[in-house]
């Protein structure tokens, strides 16, 4: 199964840990996971555990415009994309969960 996740809150919010745990569990079960970050969600790329999801095979894309507004620097392995990538994720996955 393909799972899509939208995260719009910053790392202090409990949503970050929830997304990390859901993503790990899904990957452990062999599911594909794609995450899109926007608004304050872009700050999550600076969270070590969250960014580490890339090493577990999770695809992470973020809104480059929101990142630029918040002075979030590029992180290797994470796509600094656009709402086009968000739309692609939403159209390709079997289930989509939004955390805001």
């Amino acid at each position: 199964m393909k799972l899509g996740i939208l995260l719009t809150t910053s790392p202090e919010n409990e949503n970050t840990n929830t997304v990390i745990e859901i993503s790990k569990a899904a990957r452990d079960e062999g599911h594909e996971v794609s995450i899109f970050l926007m608004y304050d969600g872009v700050y999550n790329v600076n969270n070590k555990e969250f960014a580490g999801l890339v090493d577990k095979g999770v695809e992470i894309a973020i809104c480059a415009f929101n990142a630029e507004q918040r002075k979030v620097a590029k992180v290797e392995g994470i796509l600094f994309g656009s709402q086009y990538d968000h739309a692609c994720i939403a159209s390709e996955v079997d289930r989509f969960i939004s955390f805001g």
């Binding site: 809104c63 480059a64 415009f65 600094f80 656009s82 086009y84």
Partner: protein, 74 residues
């Protein structure tokens, strides 16, 4: 024939949406030249359009925070 689109002052996601809408007016094989002043759009719009099957003929920085992107419609 080359059609031009001035998207200076526009930001994501309008840069992609307006480019895509303009491409609907362009015949297959014709070129659309788009002007951007929003840096993230210069990377993301061409990447998204390539994903849609169009060809990026060139990306040129023509000034301080000003770029010209040439797109050939598929």
């Amino acid at each position: 024939m080359t059609i031009e689109l001035d998207l200076k002052g526009e930001v994501c996601p309008y840069t992609f949406v307006k480019t895509k809408l303009k491409l609907e007016e362009v015949e297959s094989g014709e070129e659309l030249v788009v002007f951007f002043d929003h840096a993230p759009a210069v990377e993301n719009v061409p990447r998204s359009l390539k994903n849609e099957g169009h060809k990026i003929m060139g990306i040129e920085q023509t000034g301080d925070h000003l770029w010209k992107v040439r797109i050939r419609k598929s």
